[in-house]
């Protein structure tokens, strides 16, 4: 049986864990290191480096090296305009489209970069299982964690990254909730828990009630753009000033400020940029960043209907919670010492492994009931959002809305789906635009189309619609505002180097079939031309039609074979056989157009 794992795909570091004899364990390399830096570097010769290797390349080949990519997941070009300048790599993309990261000659979407990290974790786990003497060491299924405050686009981008890496993503779960699962393992907690998760790039606060093994999230809040990265950038600005530096110099300074930050978690002072740097000075600098976590904490408590003093236990997650100022501030808010028995870097991956185990084994001892962090709504008249599913609703959650038509015989309705808490469309996150098609023609206002919005246990939205008078299921075309279409994900999966070789032949075969189908369709269309009888009589040679028909039949026969060359041979034959006919039709069309008549009148 192939293996399932839990993966924490972090801004700074990523980890993979699995459940062994009922307990989750982080998978480490030979040196005992469980962390894989979420850094990807594409060398000049096309070699892809991931993790520590890639991290070292930040000092030698910064412009070909990507880090903190999680900040770009599910984002549009405009969203990241202001911070792109902090990174050594190119950040581009079409207006209104997905962000693209340029490394060397090629451009990658954030899910593709993340997929490199996931593939490295997959390989690490597979090597580990092989080393354990497992007969089937393939890792093809995973639970992947995301910040609780991630929106639909960011979750979908994470799931896409998993698919591109060749993983079946069993479930997307929230990082703070995963952490609470890991903490709840040994002791049978009952009570109210607050999970404060300050990572490399994101901040989450989740309030949970645990009872009878059910981990029920009451409220969640956060900021998907707040974390250790912001502290690093702040320190870098103070060190660098306005002096111009090479990208590699900037990276050297970045590593120095990160080291200083770490030092000051255990010591009162360190050196930075050749001078003494005291903890008090550091804390004064970063206090505004730490303070930004307080608002979300208060909002989450208010949404849960709780006072800080009612919280029984506080759990710290994420590397940035090692900072003493952060710990003090959390302690002040809740009036109690937070838990930190488990390694804050590892606890999320452990929880993900537990959830993966629950899904595969059907173990019913524990159950996670999470919530959707943001309200879901649709655009109504005047650019106002009408909410359909409220934030902090337990997922899976569903809601529906009735639509009708504005004019007689209207057969389509456009719907704009948004996520966020604000009143106006412009202030919320656009998730997708849908066009409901196939509404049966009837007088205006008669159609009753019920659109059902379903948020699944991953926190990901799907939409279905039904016209109630005729009970006709409507077709919905989804155009994600900042995401990839299924086809794009499939193509990226094929493009990914691991699959490229195995699928190269398959892809060529598919291409050959597609080409054949296109020629078949064009031929059929020509043969069905309204004036075909006249064309054949006036312009085709004797037996020309019969020839075309027999070659067409031949190509149809070989179309489903796996012999690419035969398909191509017949395709070319049909192309040749129809060349003259195609020219004749083309000429007639042009003549008709010049004389101002429609082709059908010729």
């Amino acid at each position: 049986m192939s293996k399932v794992v839990g993966i924490d795909l972090g801004t700074t570091n990523s980890l993979v864990a699995y459940v062994k004899d009922g307990a989750p364990v982080v998978i480490r390399d030979e040196s005992g290191d469980g962390l894989v830096p979420s850094v990807v570097s594409v060398a000049g010769d096309g070699t892809v480096h991931v993790g520590r290797d890639a991290e070292r390349r930040l000092l030698t080949d910064a412009q070909r090296t990507a880090y903190s990519i999680k900040r770009f997941m599910g984002k549009g070009r405009e969203d990241v305009r202001h911070e792109a300048e902090h990174f050594p790599f190119r950040v581009s993309g079409e207006a209104g489209g997905v962000v693209r990261i340029g490394l060397g000659e090629r451009e990658y979407t954030p899910p593709e970069i993340s997929a490199f990290v996931l593939r490295d974790l997959k390989r690490r786990a597979e090597e580990f299982f092989a080393g354990q003497g497992e007969f089937d060491n393939e890792v093809d299924r995973a639970v992947i964690t995301v910040p609780a405050y991630f929106n639909d686009a960011q979750r979908t981008a994470t799931r896409d990254a998993g698919r591109i890496a060749g993983l079946e993503v069993l479930r997307i779960i929230n990082e703070p909730t995963a952490a609470s699962l890991a903490y709840g393992l040994d002791k049978r907690h009952t009570g109210l828990i607050a999970v404060y998760d300050l990572g490399g790039g994101t901040f989450d606060i989740s309030i949970l009630r645990v009872e009878d093994g059910v981990f029920q999230v009451l409220a969640t809040n956060g900021d998907t753009h707040l974390g250790g990265d912001d502290i690093d950038v702040l320190l870098m600005d103070t060190v660098l000033g306005d002096r111009a530096r090479t990208a590699e110099d900037v990276q050297a300074v970045r590593q120095a400020v990160i080291q200083a930050k770490w030092d000051l978690s255990d010591r009162e002072e360190t050196t930075l940029n050749g001078r003494r740097f005291r903890r008090a000075e550091f804390e004064a600098l970063i206090a505004p960043i730490v303070e930004r976590t307080v608002g979300p904490v208060r909002q989450a408590l208010a949404d849960a209907g709780l006072e800080p003093s009612q919280i029984d236990e506080v759990v710290l997650v994420g590397g940035s919670t090692r900072i003493p100022l952060v710990r003090r501030r959390v302690e002040e808010i809740f009036g109690k010492t937070p838990h930190s028995e488990l390694n804050p870097d590892e606890v999320v991956a452990l929880g993900a492994a537990v959830q993966a185990d629950i899904l595969v084994t059907g173990n019913r001892e524990m159950l996670l009931l999470d919530v959707t962090p943001l309200s879901l709504g649709i655009e109504t008249i005047g650019g106002v959002v009408s909410k359909i599913i409220m934030r902090n609703s337990t997922i899976p959650a569903s809601g529906s809305e009735m639509f009708t038509t504005a004019v007689d015989n209207q057969t389509a309705v456009d719907i704009h789906v948004l996520q966020g808490e604000r009143e106006l469309v412009a202030d919320n996150r656009s998730l997708a635009r849908f066009r409901l098609r196939g509404i049966p023609p009837m007088p205006a206002g008669m159609a009753r189309v019920q659109v059902q919005f379903q948020i699944d246990a991953n926190g990901i939205l799907s939409v279905t619609a039904r016209e109630l008078r005729t009970d006709v299921e409507q077709t919905i075309e989804v155009k994600p505002s900042y995401g990839l279409t299924d086809e794009e994900v499939e193509r990226m999966l094929l493009d990914s180097f691991e699959h490229a070789e195995a699928d190269f032949a398959a892809r060529l075969l598919i291409d050959a079939r597609n080409e054949a189908e296109a020629v078949i369709q064009a031929t059929e269309k020509s043969l069905r031309h309204p004036d075909f009888a006249a064309i054949e009589k006036d312009e085709l040679a004797a037996g020309e039609r019969q020839k075309i028909e027999s070659v067409l039949a031949g190509l149809r026969m070989v179309l489903n074979s796996t012999d690419r060359e035969t398909i191509q041979k017949w395709t070319h034959a049909l192309n040749d056989a129809t060349q003259h006919l195609a020219e004749v039709i083309m000429n007639r069309t042009v003549k008709a157009a010049l004389s101002g008549r429609s082709v059908d009148d010729v």
Binding site: V214, V360, L367, L369, I395, A397, S398, Q454, D456, A457
Partner: protein
């Protein structure tokens, strides 16, 4: 209008057996049933259609049913069962959220019994007749305060006035809450007794008026809070 149920059985698509409308699993083949035509939130949670709900009991029922339906436990099941699990879990979460909140519970009952608000506007637009006097007085007061403020009056001159204006409205809210509790108890007693259609009607109508007024009062209090908060 009483709650007459027309159908009493649902059919298991897996084995074709009949199951009670409120059943979650087929009594014959034990498979999870699709959520074809749910009864209502009360029946779904195994509760009578009463307004006094014990919070701890509701939580317990919610957790128990979550453990039966959650998609986590149907990962390896057939697509039909997975879909049924998703539908039942979503419906359960809706039911729990609605019945947990006393005001939402009353509004839901009113809708079930055919006494729901006609549209979202009804609750907010028209001033309920019973509140006309207070609303008129408050608006006048607010206008004067705004005028004083734009004339440069310091906060400690108008803030106490605003606080004073709030007191009678808060008293109104307290009275309404008591009213709602009494009416709820009356409704529950009627449910226990059964029948008494005309009396039910009277109670439901009163409940509806109280709820509309309550929503209006809450909006008024929110307006005052905004006035107080926006000029700190």
């Amino acid at each position: 209008m009483s709650s007459s149920t027309t159908a009493t059985l649902q059919v298991c698509r897996e084995c074709g057996a009949g199951a009670p409308l409120d059943a979650h699993f087929c009594p014959q083949c034990t498979k999870i049933l699709p959520l074809g035509r749910p009864g209502d939130y009360f029946g779904f949670l195994g509760l009578p259609r009463k307004l006094n709900i014990d919070g701890a009991d509701l939580e317990r029922r919610f957790r128990e049913l979550s453990r039966q339906f959650h998609p986590d436990y149907f990962y390896n099941a057939s697509p039909a069962e997975r879909r049924a699990s998703l539908e039942r879990s979503s419906y359960l979460n809706d039911a729990y959220r609605t019945l947990k909140n006393p005001a939402a519970r009353v509004e839901y009952l009113l809708a079930l019994e055919g006494f729901g608000a006609k549209g979202p506007q009804e609750a907010s637009k028209a001033v309920p007749p019973a509140l006309l006097e207070e609303v008129f007085a408050l608006n006048e007061e607010l206008d004067e305060i705004r005028e004083a403020r734009s004339g440069g009056a310091p906060a400690d001159a108008w803030k106490p006035r605003l606080e004073r204006a709030r007191t009678p409205i808060e008293a109104r809210r307290a009275a309404h809450e008591a009213d709602l509790r009494n009416l709820s108890a009356r409704w529950d007693a009627l449910v226990d007794r059964g029948d008494a259609a005309s009396e039910r009607r009277t109670v439901l109508e009163s409940l509806r008026n109280r709820i509309l007024e309550r929503n209006y009062i809450n909006n008024l209090l929110a307006t005052i809070a905004r006035e107080l908060g926006s000029h700190e």
